[in-house]
Symmetry: C3
Subunit: 449 residues, 3 copies
């Protein structure tokens, strides 16, 4: 459907099929209101994808930031050029649009705005826009993608563009066509009533995961101190043995299975409670209490957190025979001779193994979020959190694991053969360059600002 | 598209685009025939999603089970209120609908019925309905979701609603709109001829997996007895050594790689056979024999079952150095002194490790079925089987693993320090509460019934 | 939408909705130009799915290869029978179609062609076809599926059919209907401009993965020789110790973490560089240099290759306590007696463990590509590469692992008990049958050809 046809369509929608095939090669014009970050990025992308694009702005002068090939006109002039107007303005500045009601009549207004907080306003921005410009067909779209990432070609997270509009399937189809041309996947969410949900979506950060994660962290903390008292402090007080290095592997390997099993039991407990409530009430159609409802809704997440703890438990267990402490204990048991246990070696061996386990675990998590079906089900705030924050942490843990493995040998001349350092040293070059650059940048930044 | 407009559309379909934008806020009315479990659940969900809903029933009186806000009328009266009628009645009671032919003329009838057996009737329920009410537009939909789960908000399995209809894309679009509003994903399966397949779908339980799983179980059983004779009984008879605890880890670790390798070879064997048949016949376009066709179709499943066995083999192997038997053997080998092997300790150490391995393995399976792309490809019968049956088994195995780890220490006073039990004991609290509740429920149930 | 209605639709598109419901049971006719492999396979599948099918060909005689029930007519005659013509001819032979312009006017031409090289022609085949037959509606489709695999029912890779057409949504809808009826998933890619990309798609073999994989292989090769010199040759030259078996596990376990860490650092380095460039330029909207752009685009793949190396590192590490060399070293350390290290046993123990690790690793890769969301995101050339080439390699590695495990015991009479061989021998039967058959086939083939 060429956009330029849609004005004809206003008068003559009955033969809509045949009009559309007229001018496939003529580029369609899209108008963007607002020359902020998002507007410019979207404009550049549109231009790259073959759309003729115009900006509508208060100041109709071209700045150096405006992508070349895009004209900047006044709002009214720009709106006349196109049947689709993308409103890349913050909700706070929507007011002036009511003056343009006449120009915008019958046109498709695309609301791309996001808020700063969940449920910031009583009605969604798209509904507010529809009230301001009653004659226009408002479509909510594009707020779920990062336009800058889109423009720079580094779109890793969801390519899904959630759409909703005011029951005008024609307008929605036009926007969906643009979405497809930009290489994204449109996802029709129904009427404009869904706009509120669509606007809240990019602000979420794993809402269903909060309870399971806080619960597991709480349990872990409690169990850590429990084990610390029982295993380390008790030993120190009564047997004068220092086994403080237990907090690296031995205690985590006690915490993990306990938390995993408790969480797994919590997955199946609400079903039992629900059945009891139903038996008690004599009907299975009354609503459950709120706390039970919420509990039942996060069972999947509870189970997956339990799986993560179980996975860590497996890794901690399989690593047992490699630990210095275990080897020493076995040997000293076998030969029954008093072989001096070197406390710092116990710490060292356990520490770098533990860093490796945690790094590998986060790495697996990163791998799982790279699966297409998973990355399509998170918004880009969540995706960035996992891939950027957790990814960075993974890199740090893995570097620390390597450094720990090297230990004091790093500086010892005996570890150099033919002036060749051990292989692990090579792996530290690139990470160190990276940290160095980052450090330099911070230094420069603190000087210049 | 508002449903209330579709009556106008009957007369005047040419300007369908413009009618639709008229009354976005006016709630659409959906009629449901039948006040059974499914009908009531669907009605309540419809109501929650903003639809005005009416029930059509024989007895036009409100029972306490009917969700508040939904009127119950006679079938004819209810049908007049809406252009979409959801027929939530069992196929056996469809007959009376032929009397309503006039009222239902031109309306969209949604067939949601499921059968008890695959291919129970010669024609699909939807096609039967279309024959009974020739003037209506029959759409098959909603039979693939669990309406009760939908209503209670615990929809974990597929949100896909498979649709098919009698080549009336308009009617299909209307139903797809409802599907989207309920938060589900419509999946157009084509003409009403697909209805039979859609009706069979929820009755399936991993049909492609049956052969690979039975084959692997058969092989495992055979190999188990093979190894039992060779390793355990032979030793007992000729060397009077009791190594019965081998059946827990040593023998499974022999079975797993054997089954995995045989299954993996069976994945690639049919391709070779097919090539030979083609060479022999001199053409690659004739059909293969049926057994070969079926074999080739389940290669993916054969391969994945092989992977599962290989994964178990890896876990069983990595656990070797932790086993008491292996440690004892190594030690006794080293010091060459006659150290008494404690048979029950061998059993105990291997048992709880094996329980842990199996529990972890099932847990990983649960994790995989939680991936969005996997859970979208199973029906809810399959999803429930995995998440409920296997999940429960996982919990039991993990609890047993923990109990086995604790062993006799559970009651030994020496394992208490400052009156604190070992950490693993804490993990048993929630599972035990759960089992206790379940036990109580069964007790109550057996008293009351 | 029955296809036979679309001719009426040409004259009377306004009431398109109601015409469509007329004759649901009458089979639609699809015409296929060309009786080559692809045409025949598609024809047979169409026939199975209830379409009446005719072939258009130069020689209008039936050969034995033509599926029964499909007529072969001249091109003009065949085209008259249907409104949809699938052009299963190579682009080089398109010329004659310009003579049929009149017969093909208003019909839907489906271009299914693929090229031999990426960007072989300046314009896509579909655009070329549209130029040749200006009156027809050209739709690009079906080139992304393997029609033969489809016909033989072994469709494992993507079921997605990418479509694009010349802005005629009606023609596109008709083809999408056929796609759905054949059990495939249509994926609308927009206008015919997308045809070039669709034609390039099946020719790709993991284009985004090339740089990360070549980089990691290069690093691995360098590190292998580095470690070989440092660990093996140095020892041999200066200490006259032969530790050549280190190349099987010890050296890979040095290579893997190093490559993993370097790759992981390379994932996060370009972000830092990009930030510096932006700071330096004072704007974040100018384009990055090309090398940086490409680097940033393959970060996901870099990360996943790093994960693969990390996973191998974990497996190599966990296997340490099982190695003969490690056990021997521990024991000899403990008892401080000069126990002769048997060099060949070291080689043997490490080799079969390493083969098992690599086999398991490839097996996991196969499992991951079986996930629905992953297999939907690769074309069938890529899918075949993974499932067939890598699958075969997996089988060979696993067989070699088993043979290595058996070692010399295979022929030793002492390993037979009650004439029963060890269980692992059983697992070799099916793979050996397979290799035997393959060997026989090659023998036969070399005789006959």
């Amino acid at each position: 459907m060429t956009l330029t046809d849609s004005s004809k369509m206003e008068k003559n929608s009955s033969n809509m099929i045949h009009l559309t095939a007229d001018s496939p090669s003529k580029p369609e014009t899209v108008c963007i209101f607002g020359t902020g970050d998002f507007g410019r990025s979207l404009g550049q992308k549109m231009l790259q994808c073959g759309y003729s694009t115009v900006f509508g702005s208060r100041k109709s002068q071209t700045s150096s930031l405006i992508p070349k090939g895009i004209e900047v006109l006044s709002h009214a002039e720009a709106a006349k050029k196109s049947n689709i107007i993308i409103v890349a303005i913050q909700r706070e500045h929507y007011n002036f649009l009511s003056e343009l009601t006449e120009v915008l009549h019958g046109k498709v207004l695309v609301d791309v705005s996001n808020n700063l907080k969940i449920n910031q306003y009583p009605e969604s921005n798209a509904e507010y826009l529809a009230q301001l410009v009653p004659g226009a067909k408002v479509v909510k779209a594009f707020n779920t993608v990062s336009a800058w990432a889109l423009q720079s070609g580094t779109l890793d997270a969801s390519r899904q563009v959630k759409l909703s509009n005011m029951n005008d399937s024609k307008a929605k189809e036009m926007v969906m066509g643009i979405v497809r041309t930009l290489g994204l996947t449109p996802l029709d969410q129904g009427s404009l009533l869904a706009a509120k949900e669509i606007e809240n979506y990019p602000l979420q950060l794993f809402p269903m995961w909060k309870f399971p994660i806080y619960l597991s962290l709480g349990l872990s903390a409690f169990l850590f101190f429990y084990c610390l008292i029982r295993e380390v402090i008790y030993n120190y007080v009564y047997e004068n043995k220092n086994v403080s290095f237990f907090i690296v592997i031995s205690i985590p390997n006690r915490i993990c299975p306990v938390v995993a099993l408790i969480l797994l039991a919590l997955v199946y407990l609400p079903g039992v409670i629900a059945a009891i409530i139903q038996l008690h009430r004599g009907t299975k159609y009354s609503r459950f209490p709120d706390w039970l409802d919420k509990w039942m809704l996060c069972r999947k997440q509870l189970g997956l957190v339990a799986l993560a703890y179980a996975f860590l438990h497996v890794l901690y267990t399989l690593v047992i025979p490699i630990r210095y402490y275990v080897r020493w204990k076995l040997n000293s048991y076998v030969i029954s001779q008093v072989d001096q246990f070197i406390h710092s070696t116990g710490w060292h061996s356990d520490s770098y193994l533990a860093l490796g386990i945690l790094g590998f675990f986060l790495f697996i998590l990163l791998g799982i979020t790279s699966l297409p079906s998973v990355s399509n089900n998170v918004n880009w705030r969540e995706f960035r959190f996992v891939q950027s924050k957790l990814g960075y942490l993974t890199l740090i843990l893995c570097t620390a694991h390597t450094l720990g493995y090297g230990g004091k040998r790093f500086l010892s001349p005996s570890s150099y053969r033919w002036y060749l350092p051990e292989a692990y040293v090579l792996s530290l070059i690139v990470p160190c360059i990276k940290y160095q650059i980052l450090h330099l940048c911070r230094g420069l930044y603190s000087i210049t600002s």
